[in-house]
């Protein structure tokens, strides 16, 4: 049974809620003196004459929003959900997009009315527990990274990058230093150059060594008075630890620039390495990647940014400060004394509170010892994956040392005409979610596999066996791979058509041209 769109099954008269009072606003048309003359089917005493207060802008035309009764609604979304793959269904080895188990305790905790039912602008005295959550999470993030401060409000990883780069720019500006260039490695996430460009910087690439790490010599050579910052991902997107990180930081600092670290892969080293010890100045942390907050089909994220002493004064508003036994929220009004150098506000309110409660519950559950085991098991699983597959799949950096949390393969051994895409889609037919495809860009036909620490050995072995067999087929040129997937809710979808003739909203058949 195909699941129709709500616009095909819902009606303007169907409703899945019962509202406290029956009389809806109705009227013949907008304008005029408003609503005094609008017939009201069941006027209640309080209701009379109120409509004039809508400024004469009563909406009268149909909006076109279909309604469904509650049983139909539950069924529609249940059926839709069953067309999704998810971490709850099986391994989700998306390299660089870490998908861990989302503990249900965290969902429960985030829904406590004392957190979920708080307005962001309540008086501080009524939200001390919420501010304590922010403060406790901040304490953990600072301690785990060995940094000096943390900006909690960024809404996602890329927003955190922006926060970090803005801190850097604000700090440079504060010393009157108007540098223009940000250096980014070729293998970086696309958000890195996009962020730097957004903040007004010119982006230049840093080359990599053949073993998949930043070329320190090339970097050092490029450093100069025009370079504001270097953005490094560590562990990097080839799954390798940047051995020379400290030397890079020292060189960057010596040139008067600052070091931004993309912390997307912090999950590989959490509890084992403190980025602060490597000389970085700012790093965002994707709470959903390292601390397992749910990502619900593409969001929400949450991207707190840890900062060095040099950058801390420039952090955005608002932030939480503990004064005596009480927590205070420092906002614009308090800014002049409390945060004279803050670069300002990045978003309404205080950040992704719903993610903070979950992340804190996750962190407390694991503790310092557990987080260390988390990164250890994640790296163990990735290396097991790498070594179990390197004989059938090209692993370009297999000789560069142990990988961190993800194993990188390329399409080099595939027969003519067989692509990474084919292999990925074939995995779907075996019951697995594919790995990340074609990223990082520096490796041809890249396949980036990140099992995470949440997979059992049995689960890894199943996945390895499936990928081995597909890899064999790819090497031997099995053309049936082009037909995959055959067992999914859909066969391959025509993405070109979607982009060439975009249909981005439902049109009623009657109104289609």
């Amino acid at each position: 049974l195909e699941e129709p769109l709500i616009f095909e099954i819902g009606g303007a008269d169907t409703c899945g809620v019962d509202l406290p009072t029956p009389p809806p606003l109705q009227g013949r048309g907008p304008g005029g003196g408003g609503g005094a003359d609008i017939p009201h089917p069941n006027p209640s005493p309080e209701g009379e004459g109120l409509l004039g207060r809508l400024g004469g802008l009563l909406r009268t035309d149909p909006i076109g929003l279909p309604g469904l009764s509650e049983p139909e609604t539950v069924r529609h979304y249940t059926r839709l959900s069953r067309q999704n793959y998810a971490i709850d269904c099986g391994i989700f080895p998306l390299g660089s997009c870490t998908m861990k188990h989302n503990p249900r305790l965290n969902e429960k905790v985030a829904r406590l009315p004392g957190f979920a039912d708080l307005h962001p602008l309540q008086p501080e005295a009524t939200v001390q527990g919420a501010l304590a959550v922010i403060d406790q999470l901040a304490h953990w993030l600072i301690t785990l990274t060995g940094m000096d401060a943390v900006a909690m409000s960024p809404k996602a990883g890329a927003h955190g990058e922006l926060c970090g780069i803005l801190c850097i720019r604000a700090a440079l500006e504060a010393r009157g230093d108007m540098r223009e260039v940000v250096l980014v490695p070729e293998s970086a996430h696309g958000t890195n150059p996009a962020t730097a460009a957004f903040a007004g910087y010119r982006v230049e690439n840093i080359p990599a060594t053949p073993e998949g790490r930043v070329d320190l010599a090339a970097l050092t050579a490029r450093l100069g008075p025009d370079v504001a910052a270097v953005m490094i991902t560590n562990p990097n997107t080839c799954g390798l630890f940047e051995r020379e990180m400290k030397a890079i930081s020292d060189a960057v600092h010596a040139a008067g620039a600052l070091v931004y670290c993309d912390g997307a892969n912090f999950n590989a080293i959490v509890g084992r390495v403190r980025p602060g010890d490597l000389g970085i100045d700012a790093m965002h942390i994707n709470l959903h990647k390292t601390f397992s907050t749910p990502h619900g089909g593409g969001g929400p994220g949450s991207g707190p940014v840890v900062l060095s002493e040099a950058l801390a004064p420039f952090a955005p508003l608002p932030f939480v400060r503990k004064i005596g036994d009480a927590f205070e929220l420092i906002e614009e009004g308090d800014g002049s004394e409390a945060a004279p150098d803050s670069f300002g506000r990045m978003t309404a309110f205080h950040g992704q509170m719903g993610m903070f409660t979950r992340a804190l519950a996750y962190i407390l559950s694991h503790g310092a010892d557990g987080l260390r085991q988390v990164s250890g098991d994640a790296v163990l699983n990735a290396n097991y994956m790498l070594r179990s597959l390197e004989d059938v799949l090209d692993a370009p950096f297999a000789a560069s040392g142990p990988c961190m949390h993800e194993a990188l393969f390329s399409d080099r051994h595939f027969a003519e005409g067989i692509s990474t895409l084919d292999v990925a889609k074939a995995l779907i037919d075996e019951g697995f979610h594919p790995m990340t495809m074609y990223f990082p860009l520096v490796v041809h036909g890249a396949m980036l596999v990140e099992p995470t620490e949440c997979e059992s050995k049995a689960s890894l072995d199943q996945f390895i066996a499936a990928l081995r067999s597909i890899a064999e087929r790819a090497r031997s040129g099995d053309q049936s791979l082009h037909q995959a997937p055959q067992l999914a809710p859909r066969r391959r979808l025509d993405e070109t058509l979607a982009a060439r003739k975009p249909v981005l909203a439902y049109e009623d058949p009657s109104s289609r041209t």
């Binding site: 709500i6 169907t14 409703c15 509202l19 207060r53 400024g55 009563l58 909406r59 929003l65 309604g67 609604t73 959900s81 069953r82 999704n84 998810a86 971490i87 709850d88 269904c89 997009c97 905790v109 009315p113 004392g114 957190f115 039912d117 307005h119 008086p123 301690t143 890329a158 720019r169 696309g190 957004f198 400290k246 084992r272 390495v273 490597l278 990502h295 619900g296 929400p300 949450s302 508003l317 300002g344 506000r345 990045m346 309404a348 205080h350 509170m353 519950a361 503790g367 010892d369 085991q373 163990l380 142990p402 999914a488 859909r490 979808l493 993405e495 975009p502 981005l504 909203a505 439902y506």
Partner: protein, 453 residues
Amino acid sequence: MRYLPLTDADRSAMLDVIGAESIDALFADVPEAARLSSPIEGLPMHAGEMAVERHMARLAAQNLSAGEAPFFLGAGAYRHHIPASVDHLIQRGEFLTAYTPYQPEIAQGTLQMLFEFQTQVARLFGCAVANASMYDGSTACWEAIAMAGRVTRRSKALLSSGLHPHYASTARTMARFTGDAIVHSPPRLEPETDFAALAQAIDGETGCVVVQYPDILGRIGDMTALAEACHAAGALLVAVVTEPVSLGALRSPGEMGADIVVGEGQAIGVGLQFGGPYLGLFAVRDPKHVRQMPGRLCGETVDAEGKRGFVLTLSTREQHIRREKATSNICTNSGLCALAFSIHMTLLGEKGLRALAAENHRLACLAADRLATVPGVTVLNHSFFNEFTIVLERDARQVVRELADRGVLAGVSLGRLYPDGDRRENGLVVAVTETVTAEDIETYASALEECLR
């Protein structure tokens, strides 16, 4: 450790395959000086679920939650009743624990939902196309200003004084780095919006005018004339809706000529959550502007057998393809919140949304009329939907604190939103939704009366 499936036996067997002596040995590339040999100091060790839940529950109990008190806060975040089925459905593992739908063949659930969401938002806003959501209303507002700049190639934005001050702050922060010019001043305590003055202020540099509807003081302005003025001058009109329920009663911005309509979707399905995660809504009236939009878009297509299906599309605008040339650095949307919004909107439907809006307005009128009877209270607004501003004879920030002590969460003081003073500090923005009872209004009025006495 309950979240870790590997046993010590598994670990040994796997290390044998790898050819490593220990897990620590896998971190050999980390310089020894930076490698910690034991758990980080100063932090507690792992804890059982019961202990963690107790800790968190204790912190939660230190807050006064909205449900525990007569509650009248709005100013960009609204408390509405969310049907239980919404939360049930968004907790389905297949929604909750899925990633961005990069493999559309096994993500049709998320994709079809996003397509439905986009359509709902577009229709609600009176627009042609909406995206698949953004972080929140304030960042969507900035993205709209940035987009207007790309479309018009002009860098000046006139912000209505009725725009939420956090939205204006956010735009100002961003503009400081991009070099755009933001013109904005705090609102005056007048019953009408500043739309007429804005129309006057448009000049040849103006890329866009940004208005909020209803605005931060709850006032409702007709933007038809302003839209005409914008278009005449080659500028775009950006409308910001922070309370989408209002559009169940009010004409849509698109209908009145707004070019970009953005909003905060939190009011429908998402809940208060102390400010996040929320749901940025973003739509354009004219389909030709689609390629300048930021954020993800879901589009309809067909599969190899000709069956209808959905994919993320037009991603050539986005950072993972365009890198430094992308329309925005945004990578994440607010998918789970969009799902909650879409489910709640589906439960409401047109009939329910209109009834909900009517009930909100009815109760707000009731509250405004009752509070107006309190000595020392003046209701500022001539027009409002479910939120209005009252003016007291002393600093409202202090009154709000005193009322909180009496167990009433009375609203958002203008002194908190505009700490610069300038005679706004006596203003108090009061929101009234369907969750407020007549008894709550009475409790509020009595407490306020005592407090002002």
